[in-house]
């Protein structure tokens, strides 16, 4: 329904929810505004009064940003009365601003608006203004420039829903505060910087006066960190990144997290490798990394590219000639582009002659993908996380989303504010828990028990979707029989959740008209990870919660391109687009396409490769951007394997722990230094654009791969990432409709996309699944206990994961100033009661040991940790959690059990 009214004498129409300001903007009538932002997610607040207009018949003026027109209303935007009021508002605010030549943001919206109103100075007396707060490493707070517009409050509370910023006190004493008026750096602030992006004056600004630098150019790109795939803009001066702002991409709508916004200076870290390095003659490889990344010349010598590439290729070639392809393996990276991943796996397959190619997806969602492939024939998500806006019930299990996918979590919180129910299931309490309508903490490792009990209730109470089961699934009867034994009462003993709670959440999910399930590593990183995922898939299938708007299964991807790297075949069992290596006819197709003889056997996975090195089978490796010496379980074993390799080529930005075992180190390109496509957790293919030149003699990864390829007998001639992409499109039907040019134009397109003029499909499988029967399969799961349970000697459960500020093994994030300042040290996170029981205080040192190793680190009191558990981030080289973890594998996904092993804690007193 539209409303007709008159604006400045002209008849106009307004849509249902349109404000006067919006209609005016649409009609080309510029009305000044300060507290109103046109960025997505910001509601108008009408407090600054800079947008006043005159409505005929009303006693006072109206704030056009918040006022909706009514039928027949007559609005004047340009009367003297309105203009006088708007000018006066600007003049009042200007009285307390720092002078323009000392503005904290010279290009701020405030000064634009002052110009628009023709106000240069204020006749009003200035007031006393507060002192600056520089306690936060990433942001400076100078409230002397605050105009109390509350945009930062909306940014923090309504957009990102971190609830740290408030307007406290009242009247002229009103003040923007953090928590209880604490310094920003001592507050609960998570550093997303949304407030900085929203601030119209620079009162909240990136630290070090980044906004004062005159920018030469901007480049639109994508965030290099997690799988959310936020679009961003690099602001560049003199070929250096000055600051980063969020862009309105389909995944993030302008939002970023602390990593994406402030974690960019790793690219110019002094430890950046800029010259190829060759291990010095006679320098042995120690079992523990022993090279100082600031001073690699103790172990390596500098070399020309020509020499380094020759040595690198020669070593690989020799092993291939002596042992065949099975003597070699390659680790690519989910941090690289699709083109890099594609070319890397092609090199290993066509050049090395083996399928021994894998990457960290193996440590991440391998079990989820195994279960998804087995049951619904596709390893990707069935719907983007943005679908939460259309859902009634959001289930988040085994995912600390606000830490690991912070921007995705903001949309979950938005959905809850709009009335969705949020069920969080996790052994750990987490930040999302405060927003959950149901926060259920269950015993670590008891996922199958809990989920089977939930399904037991849904089946017993007949909350299943019979039509869906009949139309789109198979194996339900066996599932029904299987579930009989898993009563809430029986399973409550196992998972520690009261039967009534199990029933309650089962009913909520079972009765929901639409529901989505999100999961993370808490599901996948178990020896029963595939079983865990099977349960989630079965739950969705029996309730018909797949394939419609607001429904879906969504394993949240951990790295920026883990989806894409898997899609393009950087895994040992699939060629690009999940064409099975051992599947009839597939190999022949790729042999034709690539013009090379291919290994008919599925290759080895990450942990299996380590074992094969120990067994003497694999002797040479090419590692691109991966850091197994930090990321793999039971590092002493992994590191011994790396040290044992006869030939190791490492291509990276820094001298990583893995690179310390290298024979040849090839300095590569960082994210902002290259063009390439990246596929986020939603299946959105997005374009990363080159923003910076390469430092020193570092080279494009694509060029390096190609040079290695040429030296092992492949005659490759790719000029640019777009050439590689063109080849990918030729063998990957999923991205048929997504051309490079289209990506340059649109920045993001979701696959599957059949034609260039089709929008990609976001919610998929509304009409069946890509399985042989077109049906989704129920696969029952039995309870499998953790591989290594606690006992008297090792009474704590050790679980590992990430911190908000650090990503993967920390190679990049620990080398950014802000992130390092925020989380500089490793901690063992323990429940308050456990800390007390151990006679410890926060910050005290302990020795944390498992049967595989021991590390020393400080204790952090963390109320989210259940008693009996110790949580450790795995990004700290000096206290590497993976020295302790258990390499026991899930039999299907071959993923190690990072989320559960037995540990002990001994206080260390000085």
């Amino acid at each position: 329904m539209s409303v007709r009214f008159t604006l400045d004498g002209k008849p106009v129409e307004a849509g249902d929810d349109e404000t006067i300001w919006q209609v005016a903007a649409r009609e080309g009538v510029a009305i000044p505004h300060l507290c109103h932002s046109t960025a997505p997610g910001y509601r108008p607040d009408g407090n600054c009064r800079a947008c006043m207009v005159e409505v005929e018949g009303e006693r006072t003026l109206a704030a056009s940003c918040i006022r909706k027109p009514t039928e027949g209303m007559t609005v004047h935007s340009a009367t003297d009365r309105a203009a006088t009021a708007r000018k006066a508002v600007m003049e009042l605010l200007l009285a307390d601003q720092p002078p323009r030549d000392r503005a904290y943001d010279p290009n701020s919206a405030f000064w634009d608006m002052a110009d628009a109103n023709g106000i240069e100075a204020s006749r009003y007396p200035a007031s006393l203004r507060p002192d600056p707060d520089t306690s936060h490493p990433a942001m400076t707070v100078r409230l002397d420039a605050c105009i109390h517009c509350g945009l930062c409050v909306r940014a923090c509370r309504e957009v990102q829903v971190n609830d740290v910023i408030a307007m406290a006190h009242r009247g002229p004493h009103s003040e923007i505060v953090f928590d209880v008026g604490d310094p920003m750096g001592a507050s609960t602030c998570v550093g997303c910087g949304e407030c900085v992006q929203a601030c119209p004056t620079g009162a909240l600004a990136p630290a070090k006066d980044a906004l004062l630098q005159e920018i030469d150019r901007t480049v639109d790109s994508v965030c290099p960190y997690c799988g959310v795939g936020c679009q961003l803009t690099y602001h560049i001066k003199d070929n250096a990144l000055v600051h980063v702002s969020g862009r309105d991409g389909p995944a993030n709508h302008g939002r970023l997290c602390v990593k994406g916004r402030f974690g960019f200076d790793y690219v110019s870290h002094p430890q950046r490798l800029t010259t190829p390095l060759i291990r010095k003659e006679g320098v042995a490889k120690a079992v523990q990394p022993d090279v100082d990344p600031s001073n690699p010349l103790t172990h390596f010598r500098e070399a020309t590219w020509e020499e380094a590439l020759d040595v690198a290729a020669k070593g690989l070639r020799e092993i291939r000639e002596r042992k065949g392809g099975k003597g070699l393996a390659g680790f690519g990276s989910a941090k690289g582009s699709n083109e890099e991943a594609y070319l890397f796996q092609k090199l290993v397959r066509a050049g090395f002659g083996t399928n021994n190619v894998d990457h960290c997806t193996r440590l991440c969602h391998a079990s989820s993908v195994a279960a998804l492939m087995e049951t619904i024939g596709s390893g990707a998500v069935t719907a983007p996380f943005a679908e939460v806006k259309n859902t009634e019930v959001i289930v988040v299990i085994g995912s600390n989303t606000s830490v690991n996918h912070p921007v995705a979590a903001t949309f979950f919180k938005n959905a809850v504010k709009n009335g969705a129910e949020l069920i969080v299931l996790d052994p750990r309490g987490e930040a999302l828990g405060r927003h959950a309508t149901h926060m259920v903490q269950f015993r670590p490792g008891s996922d199958v028990a809990l989920l089977n009990a939930v399904m037991n209730v849904i089946v017993e109470e007949d909350l299943v979707d019979h039509n869906y089961i009949g139309g789109y699934t198979e194996g339900f009867e066996a599932m029904r029989t299987h579930l009989k034994a898993f009563t809430p009462e029986a399973m409550s003993e196992v998972c520690g959740v009261p039967p009534d709670t199990i029933r309650e959440i089962a009913r909520i999910y079972g009765r929901a008209r639409s529901a989505m399930i999100f999961w993370g590593m808490g599901i996948s990183q178990h020896i029963h990870g595939t079983d865990n995922a099977r349960c989630l898939i079965a739950l969705a299938l029996m309730c018909g919660q797949v394939g419609r708007p607001g429904t879906g299964l969504h394993p949240l991807r951990g790295q920026n391109n883990v989806q894409g790297a898997s899609d393009v075949g950087l895994i040992p069992m699939f060629y690009p687009d999940y064409a099975g290596v051992e599947k009839e006819g597939v190999r022949e197709r790729f042999e034709d396409f690539w013009g090379a003889k291919l290994d008919p056997k599925t290759g080895l996975t990450v942990v299996e490769i380590t074992d094969a090195i120990h067994d003497g089978e694999i002797e040479g490796m090419y590692v691109m951007g991966e850091n197994p010496a930090m990321s793999d379980p039971n590092l002493n074993h992994t590191r011994a394997a790396l040290a044992k390799l006869k030939h190791l080529v490492v291509q990276d930005l820094f001298l990583t722990e893995t690179a310390s075992y290298a024979d040849v180190i090839l300095p590569a390109s960082a994210f902002p230094e290259k063009d390439g496509t990246f596929t986020n957790t939603d299946r959105r293919v997005q374009l990363g654009r080159r923003a910076l030149p390469l430092p020193g003699d570092a080279r494009q990864d694509l060029w390096i791969i190609q040079e290695i390829a040429r030296r092992i007998g492949l005659d490759w001639r790719y000029g640019h990432a777009r050439d590689v992409y063109a080849e990918m499109r030729a063998c990957m039907p999923s991205i048929k409709g997504i051309t490079w040019e289209r990506l340059e134009r649109e920045s993001a397109v979701t696959y599957p996309c059949d034609a260039e003029d089709h929008a990609g499909r976001e919610v998929i499988f509304g009409d069946g699944f890509p399985t042989p029967t077109k049906r989704g399969k129920f696969v029952p799961a039995a309870i499998v206990p953790p591989d290594e349970e606690t006992d008297a000697a090792y009474p704590f459960i050790l679980s590992t994961g990430r911190l908000l500020e650090h990503w993967h093994t920390g190679a990049m994030t620990r080398r950014t100033d802000v992130l390092d300042d925020l989380e500089p040290e490793a901690h063992a996170h323990l429940a308050p009661n456990d800390v007390e029981a151990l006679g410890l205080a926060g910050g005290e040192l302990v020795r944390l040991s498992t049967r595989r190793g021991s590390i020393e680190l400080a204790v952090r009191i963390d109320s989210g940790i259940p008693e009996g558990m110790v949580f450790m981030p795995f990004c700290y080289a000096e206290a590497a959690a993976n020295l302790l973890t258990n390499p026991a594998l899930d039999p299907f996904g071959k993923i190690p059990e990072f989320k559960y092993c037995a540990a002990k804690i001994e206080p260390l007193r000085a």
Partner: protein, 558 residues
């Protein structure tokens, strides 16, 4: 194998790691303390202010730890609690590095009537008493302007206060609210409400009678009561009645008068109005300055519940020292547990009110008259007005008159008649020079306009309004510039801070008033933007202070 310490930290390690999660963590002690005050969950968001009162009352202040603990128990963030707590003058928040307030607080009213009666001298005299055991603080109008100056020792109001009497109360530990005399048994109480329940009155007949009586909103807006009922009735159920017992306009004490003398009549009026609009909930928002009324109402509401009458859900809520909560939409926000910022209109509370429901908001006096009108008829009420006005009016008269107090007089009476006929004339030695017809907001008029009838709509042409009929009489002895400054300081203190014209305007105006010669032109521009562009009545009316002074007493500011 174990020696991993040789691995260098790849970061710079400028800072130390945190020992806990981010930000302040509630201690076990504070969690226990707060839990003990909250009772069993669920701890609804809208009870936030009540919980803050509970902490303040139990611990003589609210520590940052209490805020962290309360946030934890309510599943809110600390910011969400702090922004509300820090708004109210009666909540004392102290962070870890700040001292808790002394065990006893003495609030000295410094609003105009008390100022005229020597509040400054009293504050000066008590300055030496301010210390570790007692603190002396300024506070706005306590609604006892007829017995100025007033000081509140703990929760005990000392009227016609002197330093000696305040010290006496301190020494005697006399800090409890003076108990309201037991509400006198009155067999006729609730008779009209009972007649409604019994069907003797119908909702229609009640509304028609109220309409014919010409009853208007006596909180200050003067909107016809019956019309408001109609608006609310046009909206779907569930509906709410919200009683605004937060009179805070300096000089106003008529609602306290009725709540102290005839609380049953007020409650009866509320019950009738709630019944007439078929409200499920009846909220009473009572200002914190009237603790004795709070106790009496709580008791009376319990008695009502015990009486077996069919009642709406009656909820008594307590303000916490914020004038803005008398603005009806701010009051609704306060009841909801939010920062009490006035809402944008439309939508009006009648459409989207408390908890989003259609809400009828009424002032105490308005409701007080409802049973009287039903009992005695519409004409009885309407006929009491003079000079074309309808009904009686309860004028709160204070200042330089001989007998200040609540004066029940005809609507339309002039201030001169009010002084002469109802207040025994001016105090000795004082000659009538000026008056405030409507408290701090209504402007300052000269004695030459002393014969204008006092009612809604009669004073506007003179740049003033009647508002809540708080008449403060000034004499030739009074420094009008100081009066204006006092009023503007009040507005600056009490502005919620939401909109620029009011937040910045009140503060700038106050500073500008210190100039030897006022800047007429800038004041005129400031007045216009405040009046035209402020969100609510506070900012819109605040310029009356300087505009009327400049208009009628230009010599005072030159």
């Amino acid at each position: 194998m174990r020696d991993t310490t040789t691995i260098r930290h790849p970061g710079k390690g400028k800072r130390k790691g945190r020992r806990t999660e981010r930000g302040r963590q509630p201690t076990a002690e504070s969690l226990r303390q707060v839990a003990a005050l909250l009772g069993d969950p669920p701890h609804d968001r809208h009870l936030l202010l009540e919980y803050l009162h509970a902490i303040q009352d139990a611990h003589n202040g609210i520590s940052a730890q209490h805020i962290a603990a309360l946030a934890h128990h309510m599943r809110l963030s600390m910011a969400e609690v702090y922004e509300v707590a820090s708004f109210y003058a009666h909540l004392d928040i102290h962070r870890e590095n700040e001292e808790a307030p002394p065990p006893l607080t003495v609030r000295v009213c410094d609003s105009l009537s008390c100022q005229l009666a020597g509040a400054d001298a009293l504050l000066d005299a008590l300055a030496d008493d301010d210390g570790r055991a007692v603190r002396i603080v300024r506070a706005p109008c306590m609604g006892r302007c007829d017995a100025a100056p007033v000081a509140e020792v703990g929760r005990h109001h000392v009227v016609e206060a002197t330093a000696a009497r305040v010290r006496e109360a301190i020494a005697a530990g006399d800090t409890a609210p003076a108990s309201m005399e037991a509400i006198s048994p009155d067999d006729s109480a609730y008779a009209e409400f009972d007649a409604c329940i019994a069907g003797t009155h119908t909702a229609d007949s009640v509304r028609t009678t109220v309409e014919q009586a010409g009853l208007r909103g006596l909180g200050g807006a003067g909107f016809p009561a019956a019309r408001k009922w109609q608006f609310v009735l046009a909206e779907p159920k569930p509906r709410v009645l919200a009683v605004n017992a937060d009179e805070g306009e300096p000089g106003t004490f008529k609602d306290r008068h009725y709540l102290e003398t005839e609380p049953r009549r007020v409650l009866e009026g509320a019950l009738i109005a709630a019944w007439a609009i078929e409200a499920d909930d009846l909220y009473i928002y009572l200002r914190d300055e009237y603790p004795q009324v709070h106790a009496a109402l709580r008791k009376e509401i319990a008695a009502l519940r015990a009486s077996g009458r069919p009642l709406p859900n009656i909820v008594l809520r307590r303000g916490a020292g914020a004038y803005i909560c008398g603005e009806e939409s701010a009051m609704l926000e306060s009841i909801e547990g939010n920062r009490p910022l006035p809402r944008h209109r439309p939508p009006f509370p009648a459409q989207v009110g408390l908890f989003g429901r259609p809400t009828l908001a009424h002032n105490v006096e308005t409701l007080y008259w409802v049973p009287h009108i039903l009992e005695k008829g519409a004409a009885w009420f309407a006929d009491q007005g003079i000079n074309g006005s309808k009904g009686p009016r309860s004028y709160s008269v204070s200042g330089r008159v001989k007998n200040p107090g609540v004066k029940l007089a005809p609507a339309g009476i002039s201030v001169r008649q009010l002084i002469d006929v109802h207040c025994g004339g001016m105090q000795d030695g004082h000659a009538f020079a000026a008056y405030l017809p409507g408290g701090a907001s209504g402007g300052i008029l000269p004695a030459s306009l002393g014969d204008v009838p006092l009612d809604f709509g009669t004073l506007e042409e003179h740049g003033a309004f009647i508002g809540s009929a708080a008449v403060i009489v000034l004499s030739d002895q009074d420094d009008l510039r100081a009066v204006a400054r006092n009023l503007m300081a009040f507005f600056a203190d009490e502005s919620c801070g939401q909109c620029t014209p009011c937040r910045v305007g009140t503060e700038k105006a106050l500073t500008m008033m210190d100039a030897a010669q006022w800047d007429d032109e800038l004041f005129a521009e400031l007045g216009q933007v405040m009046r035209d562009a402020s969100i609510c009545g506070l900012g819109q009316a605040a310029p009356n202070v300087f505009e009327t002074l400049l208009r009628y007493f230009p010599e005072a500011v030159r």
